[in-house]
Amino acid sequence: MRHLLTASMPRDEAIGLLDLAEDMHQIQDRELKKLPALRGRTVVNLFFEDSTRTRSSFEIAGKWLSADVINVSGKGSSVSKGESLRDTGLTIAAMGVDGVVVRSGASGAPALLADWIGRPVVNAGDGTHEHPTQALLDAFALRRRIHGGAARGKALDGVRVAIVGDIAHSRVARSNALLLPALGAEVTLVGPPPLLPPAAADGSRLGVRAEPSLDRVIDERPDALMLLRVQLERQAGKVAPSAAEYITGWSLTDERLARLGDAHLLHPGPMNRGLELSSRAADSDRSAILEQVTAGVSVRMAVLYSLLASDHPSAELGGAR
């Protein structure tokens, strides 16, 4: 059984997936965007948490591969509905589906479902844990930005990426902190100290360098800046900075944009213009934000194809689980 539960994977496997996504990407230029690869397969998007963008992206990816895609939403936690996570998963599996894409507010829920239901599981974001397809699409978009049309087979060696925002609660940051270094990139986590995760003995956080000052990081002229969506209202009220405080320290303002040089800008969306970054930054030619959205479909096609196509030989994605 193959699953995609984490963005932690060997370099070769990551490059292989990104190359496969390049193949998938080409069909976006076609008039008829449909491959027969998953004809007769059924994929369930099991979303316990609201998501329009990720769910639509997986739905389009499945449909372009000719899979039948069913969306199942469970508002709130399954527990609050009275049915356990396990029963929900077993029920879906009993309907004869071939793969399940899971979004959950609970960290680790996709890993548990993978153990319980005996079907390939794709983690579409679990709590404050991981969002592996987001990291893959970020890497894909960044690789295209850096290597252009010759991206195939390449990694991100020596590329310096700063991830800015509420790192502690961000599954996007976690998955990128695992995937980008595997591809050779140097990652720095940036954010208000209370929103950085606990440090390891060597001072690293999530295994990579952390730095509270965005201004110092900008002075180092990174190659890419990834700005995370900030939801100040959702964080523990006592420790979250005010919007004004956040902008003072961690927003990509016009002034910081001017000092940033030609770094590429990434954002997983949806953006809060004026909070995480200025409108000028969002609309500048350095912004790869819409390319990320396009890349999302290609990457998810590659993942679904890898896990569900009967003729695909790849080993389990995401290495050890």
């Binding site: 936690s77 399954s78 527990v79 356990s84 996570l85 396990r86 959950s104 609970a106 960290s107 680790g108 829920a109 890993a111 548990l112 679990d126 709590g127 404050t128 844990h129 991981e130 502690a168 599954r171 976690r174 995760p197 606990p198 440090a199 390891a200 003995a201 956080r205 999530l206 295994g207 523990a236």
Partner: protein
């Protein structure tokens, strides 16, 4: 009825005979051997009946997970003859009616003495003191007060509870957890919680409460007991308080002597417990503290849960592990087989001292002639993989399922009455 146990290594020492007559141990040379039941105890360790100062028997209110009757079966299987039942039942054990109900259920169940623990605050809500004096004077004669599951975090309430306890010669057993530092916490806080995306429970949230409580206990001249110490930092605080002369005792749960947070990587909620499994360094510090007496006792924090409370996402699952059946094996593995403690030390940490803290009579002269016949025979050479069938309580949320543990409790006598024979519960009807 006389029972003669021949050749037992008493408290792990040189083999000798023990004799049980009525509810007491008698001089084996003075009995009529022809009329005694003889049990060959050669190769077995004789220990005093174990006393658990911290178990959740769930009744009333949580009968789908455990009852007093099923809980004492688990206790007997694990070598326990006395179990203190925590107050976080539904309704809470904050009135004489509830503690007397639990007391009565214990008498009906037999197998082990059940000592109800009284709540410190009404409804465990941390707002108003329970009627501690009434609980102490009830038929259940409460000697231990605890809001376990919740921390008595209001310093004023804790101070007054300690003052009451001092007057009653009772002890306040604190679940040390600063709630403000542990909102949403489900595992040890550190690099692993960051990696797994699970809410972190920092060590300081335990140690800081213990430091405060030690000072309050000193002020009140009261006895303070610290439940389930889980961190190296707390060990240091307890050590310092003892050096200062504070009347403080501390317990460690078996799982904190053996298991670490790495098990949480599986997101398997069997490994979710409060306080959480911590690091290797904490495990080492806890073992050393138990060996040198900084931590006085082992208490199980036996916390049964129905399967559905655990078969769910880690953050949504209930805290707790069953522990009565496996406690002695875990202590053998973590303390005896590592050379940190001998069997006499195990008897102190799991019988004599917890009984003294809980003011339970009959345990102060372990296995001596004339003492109450609370006796356990253990085969230390046995090893077995823990399976569900080894668990005799109602719930199977054990972190040790599938893991090999040493030692097997074979025979238990509770006040001279056989409760376990060849590892089987003795289910004779007992009087009220």
């Amino acid at each position: 009825m006389t029972t003669l146990l021949t050749g037992a290594a008493v408290l792990g020492g040189e083999p000798r005979d023990l004799a049980i007559e009525g509810d007491a141990l008698v001089d084996p040379s003075a009995i009529d051997r022809d009329r005694a039941e003889v049990i060959d105890a050669s190769g077995l360790i004789a220990l005093p009946g174990l006393v658990d100062l911290h178990a959740h028997l769930r009744q009333p209110g949580g009968e789908q997970a455990e009852t007093v009757a099923s809980g004492v079966r688990a206790a007997a299987a694990g070598g326990f003859t006395c179990v203190f039942a925590m107050a976080n039942t539904n309704p809470v054990a904050d009135t004489p009616a509830v503690v007397e109900q639990v007391h009565r259920l214990g008498l009906e169940a037999g197998l082990a003495t059940v000592r109800p623990i009284g709540a410190v605050t009404v409804g465990l809500a941390g707002e108003r003191l329970a009627d501690m004096t009434m609980l102490a004077r009830s038929a259940a004669r409460v000697t231990v007060f605890s809001d376990d599951g919740h921390c008595v975090h209001d310093a004023e309430l804790m101070r007054r509870a300690l003052e009451h306890a001092a007057a009653l010669d009772a002890v306040v057993a604190q679940h040390a957890q600063d709630p403000a530092l542990t909102r949403g916490a489900v595992m040890h806080e550190g690099p692993l919680s960051a990696e797994l995306g699970l809410g972190g429970w920092p060590s300081v949230a335990e140690a800081s409460i213990v430091a405060r409580d030690a000072m309050l206990a000193e002020l009140a001249g009261a006895r303070l007991h610290v439940c389930h110490v889980s961190t190296a930092e707390t060990v240091e605080v307890v050590r310092a308080a003892k050096a200062r002369g504070v009347r403080i005792t501390a317990e460690v749960a078996p799982h904190h002597l053996l298991l670490t947070e790495d098990l949480v990587r599986s997101y398997d909620a069997r490994f979710k417990v409060n306080p959480p499994l911590r690091t290797d360094a904490d495990v080492r510090a806890l073992r050393e503290a138990l060996a040198d007496g900084t931590i006085d006792i082992v208490a199980t924090d036996h916390a049964p849960h129905a399967p559905e409370a655990k078969l769910t996402a880690f953050a949504d699952a209930a805290f707790g592990m069953v522990g009565l059946e496996t406690a002695l094996s875990v202590v053998q593995m973590a303390m005896v087989e590592t050379g940190l403690m001998d069997w006499a030390g195990v008897a102190r940490a799991m019988s004599t001292t917890p009984a003294a803290i809980g003011r339970e009579p009959g345990y102060d002269a372990p296995l001596e002639v004339g003492a109450s016949a609370h006796v356990v025979l253990v085969d230390p050479a046995a090893r077995a993989v823990v399976e569900e069938r080894h668990l005799r309580g109602r719930s199977a949320n054990s972190p040790y399922l599938g893991r090999e543990l040493p030692g097997r409790v074979l025979h238990v006598w509770h006040a001279g009455r056989r409760t376990l024979a060849d590892g089987r519960i003795v289910t004779e009807e007992v009087g009220r």
